[in-house]
Amino acid sequence: MNNEITGKPIDRVDGRLKITGGAQYAAEFPMKDLAYGVAITATIAKGHIASIDTRAAEKIPGVFGVLSYKNSMSLHFPQGGDPGSGKYAEKDLLPLQSDRIFYDGQMIAVAIADTFEKAEYAASLVAITYEPETAVLEIEPNASNARQPKTGLGNQPMQTKRGDASTALANAPVTIDYTYTTPVYHHNAMEPHATTAQWTGDELLIYDSTQSVYGSHSLMANMLGLEPEKVRLIALYIGGGFGSKGFSWPNTVVAAMASKLVGKPVQLALARQQMFTTAGRRSQTIQNVSLGADRDGKLLSIRHASIVETSFVDEFIEPCGVATTMLYACPNLEVTHKVVNLNRGTPCPMRAPGESVGTYALEAAMDELAVKLQMDPIALRLANYADEDPQKKKPFSSKNLRECYEQGAAAIGWKDRNVQPASMRQGRYLVGYGMATATYPANRSASTARAILFADGRAEIECCTQDIGTGTYTIMTQIAADALSLPITKVKVKLGDSDFPKGANSGGSQVSASVGPAIRAAAIDVVGKLAKLAVQDTGSPLHGLDEKTIQANNSGIYSSAEPQRGESFQALLSRLRLDRIDALATTNVSTRAPEAGQPEAIRNYSFHSWGAQFIRVLVDPDLYTVKIDKAVSVMDIGKVLNQKTATNQIMGGMIFGIGMALMESSVYDPARGRVVTRDLANYLVPVHADMPVFDIRFIDRPDVLISPIGARGIGEIGITGTAAAVANAIYHATGKRVRDLPISLEKLMD
C-alpha cells in the first residue's frame, strides 16, 4: 500500500494529553481516602536494625501507621525470574521482611498519613538505631576474589571463547592492551518509581510505573499469594524507565502492603534521593581490552575481560563483552566477566546493558589500535567487517553497516579531518573528530493482541504491553490503521492494563518488533472475519466472491481484483446488526529462544541492528571544557515506523551516551558506602545548552526476516558507540586519551 501511514513522521497520538497534563501517571490517580506513604531508608551499608521507635511519628494526627518488618505481612518468595513474567529485583531481599540491612538506602519502613506532608514529617520522626557490621564497599580491593559466572540475565553466556586468543595476541605484530573504567550510573527517569495500591476486599488494584505490566502483575499476585484474577495492574503512561522499571522494586509490593495495613488506598512514590539506592543502577565496570592485528589492520585476537559488581541480594552482571563476541570478524576471541559482591543496591539493566559500556571500551580500543597502525579508524573497521555472526556462525538477517559508515563520514566531514591529534583548530578551540560503531541485538518475543472493530467505524486495539514514553501508542496506532485501512483518528490503541492480552515487556528494545506483528495479525484477522461475513451475505456487493480476494481499503473491504467493488465497514456491520467484530492474535516468535520450535528464518539468522556514530568536539586548550559541536548517527534498524519517534529515540540515546562520556557518575562515600551525588544537582546529566547539532539518519531498509513489519527495536542502540565516539573525538582534539569515564576536565588538564 503506497499511502501507508506507517513510517510517516506523525505527531504522537498522546502528545497533546501529555503536554496538557491530562496523561495520568502511577501517582496521579486521585481516589477517596487516599493515603500517602513516604519510604524510610537505611543509613548503614550492612548490619541489623536494632530498634525502630515509631511513637513520635504515630502521635501526629493524620498519621495512620508506620510499616516495617515488625508489623509487615509475610511475602511469598517469587517464582520464575524471567522479566517477561515478572522479576523482583532483589530475590534475597523481599522488602520489610527482616531486620537485616544489605546496603545503605535499603527501604526499611514506610510512614503513612492522610497527606504527603504529614507522612514526610512522620517519616523524619521515626527513630532507628542499628547494629552495623563491616561492609564490602569497593571493587578494586576485592577484585582478586571475583567470581566467574557461567551465565547472566536470560542465560546469556558470560564466558565466551573461540580459537586461542592468548597465543594469537602473543604472536600479533601490532597489539594494544588497555583498561577502561566506567562509574556507577543511575537511570534517573523523570518519573520516579511510583505506585498507588487499593484493596477492595481481597481484590487488589495497582497503578504502577513499570516497564512490564504483565510481569509486575503476575509478580504481585505471586508475592502476595493472590490468584492472578484478583489483581489488576495498570500503567497507562510511564515517565521513562531506561531499564530501571523492568524488574520490580520495593515500591510496588510495599504500596500494597501499606494499603493493607491502614485499610486505605496508598500512594507511594520514591523521592529522587531514593532513586539512587532502591531503584536499580548500572554496575561500575573495569574492562581490560587487548587487541592484536596484522600490519594491515586485520584483527588476529580480541580479549575483553570485565570485572563488574553486584549486591549481596541478587546477581545482575553487566554484560560488557557480549557485543564484542559478534562485532568484528576475528578468529581468536576471549570474552570474560567476573563479578564482585558489594554492599550496594542491586544493579539492573540500564539502556543497552552491556553494549553501552562495552562498546565504549571496545570502540575506544579500536581507535587506539587505528592510531598505532596509522590507519583510518573507519578503514580499520571495514578491514574487520563481519559479514556473518562470527560467534554463532550464522548470517545476519540484514546488515547495512557499510552504508552507515559512509553516510556518517560524509555528514560529519570526515575527509576534512587531519589525522594528527591536536592539529585542528577553530578559533581558540581544539577540534576533534571521533567515530564508533553502534550495535544492539534485534529482539522479538511472543505477544498477543486484540483488535476490535465497532459498527461506527472505529477500532480499538488492546494489548498488555506499555508505552514507557517512547511512542509505542503512536506507532501501534499507525500499524493498526494500515492493517485496517482506517485513518489514525479512528483507531484507539489501549495498552498498560493487565486485563488485556499479554504483550511483550519493555526490555531489550523489543516492543515494536514483538507487539507490532501481533497487532497487525489481530487487525488482519478482523478483516478476514468481515470478508467471510460479506461473501456470505446476499446484501453485500462482495457476495459470492472468494474471501481470500478481499482486502481492507479506505475504511472498508473491497475486492482486490475490482477495487471499486466493496463496502465500508460501517455499512457491512450495520446491515448485519453487529456492534463489533473482534479478533485475538498471538505471534509466537522469539529471537531469544530461537531453537524452541521457531520458524526457520528465526533459527538460521543472527538478528542485530547497526549504526555508526560520529562526533565533532571543540575543546578549550587551557580550561579543557568540552563542547560537543556536532553529533551524527546513521542507523540501520530495519524499517522506520515513524521518523519522528525514531529520531527522538536515537537522539535520546546519544544524549545518554554524551552524559555517560562527559559528566554522569554516581559517587559513593568511601567510608560509608552511601551515595553522595544523590540528586539531580550532583548527578549531572546534559542540559540543552550542552546539545550539539544532531544529524540523525536511517538506512530504512525493512528486515523481512524478523517480522512482516520489518522493524527492529530502536530504544537502546542510540547510546551504544556514543561514549566511545566522544572519547575518540577528545583524543583527536587534544592528543589525550582518558580511559576513565566520565571525561571531566581535570582528567584532561596536565
Binding site: 534521593q273 559528566m663 571531566s744
Partner: protein, 327 residues
Amino acid sequence: MYPFTLIRPESPAAAIKNATKGTKFIAGGTNLVDLMKLDIETPTALVDINGLEAFNTIETLPDGRIRVGALVKNSALAWHSEIARRFPLLSQALLSGASPQLRNMATTGGNMLQRTRCYYFYDPAFPCNKRVPGSGCPAIDGYNRNHAVLGTSEHCIASHPSDMCVALAAIDPRVMLHGPRGERSIAFAELHRLPGSTPHLENTLLPGELITAIELPSLPFAVHSHYLKVRDRASYEFALASAAVALDIQGGTIRAARIALGGVGTKPWRSKAAEKTLVGAAAGDATYKIAADAALNGAIPHKHNAFKIELAKRTLVRTLNIVGGNA
C-alpha cells in the same frame, strides 16, 4: 519537612519584630525551601518578606552609587540596563547562575545568604560541623570534588556556591541592614565569615537582622569587567572555578584592579594579593600569571579538588585576558 507557621508582615519593622529565635526570613525560597524539605533547616516560623515593596527597587543615587533592594530578583538585576552597562561582571555572574526560572524567583538578599552545596551538608544522615556543630566533617576524608581550596579550616572545607557574590566581592558594595537594634551597614567583605572552628556561623548578621539593600559604589572602571565561570556542563551548574575581574588599564599599564574568585573559596573570594601584583604592572599574559599565582597562594588541596588550584589560575588568567582585550 517540619511543620511551621507562615507570617506575612507588612512593614520592615513588623518583619524584624517577628524574627524571633527559630524563625527564618523567606524571600524567593529557592534555597531555604529545598533545605527545609531535607530537614536541614527546621524553622518554626517563616517570616515572608516578599510583601515589603520598598525592598524591590533599583535606584541610582545622585553620586553615582546604585542602590539595589534586597528583594530585587536576580533576573531583574541582571537585565537592568545600568547594571549591564556599568557592571558587566555582575550581570554576567547573575546570568551564569541557576536557570531562568530560578533567577526569576531568587533575590539579591537570598542569593547572598544561600548555603553551601557540600554533598554531606545536604544529607542529614552524615555528620557535618556546619549542620550539627562538633559532629565532624566527612568531606575532608571523603568525596570533596566541589569543595574549597582557599579559606578552609580543619573543621570545614565547604565552598561558597554563589556566582553573584563573586562579582559583588570584586565590587565590594555596602550591605544595608535593619535589625532589632536599628539600621547599620557593613562592607560586603565583612558579610561572610571564614569557617574556622565555627563553620555553622556563616555571616555576621545579628539575630533578627534583615538585609534591606546593597549599595554599589560608582567604580567607573567596572565597565571594563568580566565574569567567567567554568563548570561540568554548559548551564545549570555551580562553578568549579570562576573569576570576576575589573581592570583599569591606561596606556598598557594597569592602574587599578578588582579580582575575585568563585568555586574555590569558603566565602566569595576577593584576592587583594592578586590585585596588588597587577597595579602598576604592564597588562599582559606574564603579569596575569603572576597575579594568578598570588591569588592561589596558600591554597590547600584535598583528594578530589586539587585540580581546582590550577583550574582557578587558568580561569583567572583567561578572564584577565578577556578584560585586558587579549582574548
